[in-house]
Every structure is written in structure tokens, then in C-alpha cells.
Amino acid sequence: MIIPHSKILPRNMLGSRLLPLVIAVNVYLASLAILGGLALIGATGQWATEIEQLVTVQVPPESGVSGDAVVKSVLGVLRDHPGVAQARALELSEMEALLAPWLGQSAAIKELPLPQLIDVELRPDGDLDSLRKRLDAEFPGVEIDDHRQWREQMQSIATSARLICWSLVAMISLAAIAVIIFATRASLENQNELVALMHLIGAHNSFVAGEFQKHFLGIGVIGVLIGLVPVVLTIGAILYLTGDDPAPWMGRMALGPVDYILAALPPLTAALITMLTARLTVLRALAVLD
């Protein structure tokens, strides 16, 4: 691949060696921030979707003397409902396990008037409202917990992750732009005699800016090529870890094709940003000199 460069400016201008490394580090950090953010957003989204399809029906202990009969009736209604994929009453041992963190393994749990819990899995298009109305009508006192609180927390985590991710990308980009502006100004200062000569020979500001633009585009391309190496290695590691048989938590972090395209944005745009920043910096500096 041919690296673009100016035919008039010296190749080894001030900062020409270090700036590609700075750009490479920024490209990698920005890609990493996007990948991390997208993985977290994906995981919370998946959790939220799973919870959205699960509800818990609570049959209170005071529902009647023949509690088991009520539970059976409720289960019958649930299984008949078109929006329900499956419904299952929790065993006493399962409810004990749920309470164990708070009450321990005490035998007294069995004596407590615990509500009977029924796990219900809704179909993807299941209508929870009609189910709730039917249970309210036929079994007053029976409650449905749709885990709204958990879902809202997940939503909040996903929103925060998105905000943090893009804030990080914005800060990394701003830091890179600041460094490029500094390097461009230093180069312009360093080459002021050549720039003055170009002007005296008849160069427009846009021509001078174009030469700096070409020079910094070359630096940007080199920086991107260096930065791409760790980005590709990181994506490779993620693909390997989320591959055929990933750990459950890692499976949730799996990224889709769109996510990888978004993660490729910093490398794709870094050279362009470098070029445009240099051009605008030179044009602005020369306009002041005019």
C-alpha cells in the first residue's frame, strides 16, 4: 500500500515519528471502548429480554384451606392461556433455597405461611395484560410479578454503558485531535521559511494546507495500520472466547456484525480526522497571518 505524502514538505517533519504511535494508541483505545460498551449493552439487553419473558405468579397462603387445589386451578388457567409457553409450580425445596440467603437452612421455614410461587414463561408475543385481568377476575389476591424493577435497572445500566462508551470515544478523539493540532502547529512553525517561500512563489493558502493535509494523512494512515494490529488481536480473542462453547457470562457478551463495524469506526475515521484537523489548523493559522 502506498502511504500518501507531500512532495514538497520534508517527510521527517517535527512529530512525524511519534504522532503515528499516538494515533495508534488512540485508535486502539477508542475501538476497545466501543467493543466494551457494546458487549455490556448487549449483555444487559439479553438479560432484560430474558427477564421480560419470565413472570412469577404468587398464590398467597390465605387463598383458601385447600391451597393445593387453588394452585392447580391457577396452573390450569395459566397453561390454557395462549400467551403462556409454560408454567411450573416451584417445589418447597426450591423456595427454601430462595429464602436460604436470608433465613438460613432452618427447619422452621416449613412452618412459615409462604406463598406458592409459579414460574411462568411467556411466549415472545404473549399478552401479559389479558393474563393479569383473567387471574384478577378468577383468583383475587393472586399476584403477578413481572420483574419491572429488574428490567428498569437493566435498562438504566444499558443506558449508562452507552453514555460512558460514547463519552470515552469522544474524549479519546478530542485528545487525539488536540495532539494533532499541536503537531500541525509545530510543523507549520518549523517550516515557516518554506511556507513563506511557497506563498512568494504564488501558492494559495489552500495549496499549502493541501500539502500539510497530505503529510498528515500519511501519518494518520501509518497510525491506523499500527493501531489495527491490537484491534484485530482483541477482536480475535473475543471471537475465540465467545466461540463454539463459551462460558455462560461470556456468551452473553457475544458481539454481532454491526458491533464489529462500529468498533472499526475509529480505524476507519482516524486518518480522515487527522487529515481534516491538519488542513483546518493550517488554514486557520495562515488566515491569521494574512
Partner: protein, 229 residues
């Protein structure tokens, strides 16, 4: 072609280095610019190659009032002016070929369009075998030749030279001057700043003189025609 009337020139808030100067350079004319050291010769040349615009007065170049031009219009005027700087101002990281081709590259011409012209010119000035040399490897005279070649490559209408024979021996000096005069014969207006009174005397019969005096004033003298014997 060049009309200067009651022009003053000062740098920042300093005193005027040129004061109320007036002169006219007709198209295709040949003039020497003379004066003591510090009289303002370089400042006058700088004003003419638009390195610095007049602080006051009227200056017209190629039919345009310079004081009325926007900064973005100056490059078009500068492209019609070729300059041989006293310190050459060659670009050290560019080869002889690239230095000479610089005005054409700045004009936006493609390299394949001007390669032959540049090579021919460099052959003509005697540097055909040093196209790919860098300026620091050349002698003072050779650097001067490159500077002249760069000034003339774009066929300027006005050619300004600041002591173009100052750092070369008499033989090369005459040869370089011959190159400038050849362009003058082809229609370019030529203004040469010099201290070399011998050079002035040898060409005084066909060259006018702009004589800068103390206080930044200027006298314009016509060529001294030889008396018929």
C-alpha cells in the same frame, strides 16, 4: 505595467524605509536598482514581489491596484513575478529538479507536463547532470543558477533579482546575466538590484536605473544612450 506613485513602506510601527517613491516600469524594460547598503533595495524588491504591501500610496501591477486586492488574489499576481533572492532560498530537502519545478507544481501543473521543460532549462544553465543533486552539494554559483532557473521557469512577466551575480565569479556572473537578459528580450520586465558598478556601467546603455537615495527616496534614470561619434 508597474506604476508606483508616492508610495511609503514601513514595517510594523517602525520608521518608513521607503518614502514617497514613484517610478514606472514599462513592459519589457530593463532596469538596475542601485543604492547604498541599507538604502532599501531589498525592501523595494520585497514590495514588488508582494512580500510586503505598501503602507501608503498607489501601486499598480499588471493593471491592478495592489491596495485594493484581497489576500486571496495576491497569489495570481505573485505567479507573474519571478524572484532571484539574494540568499537563493533553495529548499534543502528538494533536489535541483524539484526546486526548479516548484513554481509549476504550485500552479497545479502535472509533473509529466513540465518535466521536459525543467530538464531543458537546467541543461541550458549547465546543470543537466545535477538534476537529482541536493542544493547543499552544489557550489555557490550553481546554487545561484538553480535560483535563477526557478525564477524563470514559469515565464514570469516581471523578473526581480537581488544581487544575482554577487556570489559568483565574473565569467559565471555574465553568463547568468545573459540568461536574465535573454528573458528580457523575450518580453519580461527585468529589475536587478546590484552593488556591482562595473556591471552597471557595462549595461547602462540599454538599462534604466532606479537609484535609491538616503531617506528612502528614489530617482528614476533612463538608459544612457551612447553619443554618435
Amino acid at each position: 505595467m508597474i506604476r508606483v506613485k508616492n508610495v511609503g513602506l514601513q514595517y510594523a510601527d517602525g520608521p518608513e524605509v521607503l518614502s514617497n517613491i514613484s517610478f514606472t516600469l514599462a513592459a519589457g524594460s530593463f532596469h538596475f536598482l542601485t543604492g547604498r547598503c541599507g538604502a532599501g533595495k531589498s525592501s523595494l524588491l520585497r514590495m514588488l514581489y508582494l512580500g510586503h504591501r505598501p503602507s501608503r500610496g498607489y501601486m499598480e501591477m499588471f493593471g491592478k491596484d495592489i491596495s485594493q486586492l484581497d489576500a486571496s488574489e495576491l497569489p495570481e499576481i505573485r505567479r507573474r513575478v519571478g524572484v532571484v533572492f539574494q540568499d537563493f532560498r533553495l529548499v534543502s530537502h528538494l533536489t535541483v529538479f524539484e526546486n526548479v519545478a516548484l513554481p509549476l507544481a504550485i500552479e497545479g501543473r502535472a509533473a509529466q507536463d513540465y518535466t521536459r521543460d525543467v530538464e531543458e532549462l537546467l541543461n541550458w544553465v549547465g546543470l543537466g547532470d545535477k538534476l537529482n543533486h541536493y542544493p547543499e552539494l552544489l557550489s555557490g554559483g550553481e546554487q545561484q543558477q538553480v535560483a535563477i532557473a526557478r525564477a524563470v521557469i514559469a515565464s514570469p512577466q516581471l523578473l526581480l533579482a537581488d544581487e544575482p551575480t554577487g556570489s559568483v565569479d565574473a565569467e559565471i556572473g555574465e553568463r547568468l546575466l545573459g540568461l536574465l537578459m535573454e528573458l528580457n528580450r523575450q518580453g519580461a520586465t527585468l529589475l536587478i538590484a546590484t552593488h556591482d558598478m562595473g556591471l552597471l556601467e557595462r549595461h547602462r546603455h540599454h538599462a534604466g536605473e532606479l537609484q535609491l537615495e538616503d531617506g528612502g527616496r528614489l530617482r528614476q534614470l533612463p538608459p544612457i544612450r551612447a553619443k554618435a561619434s
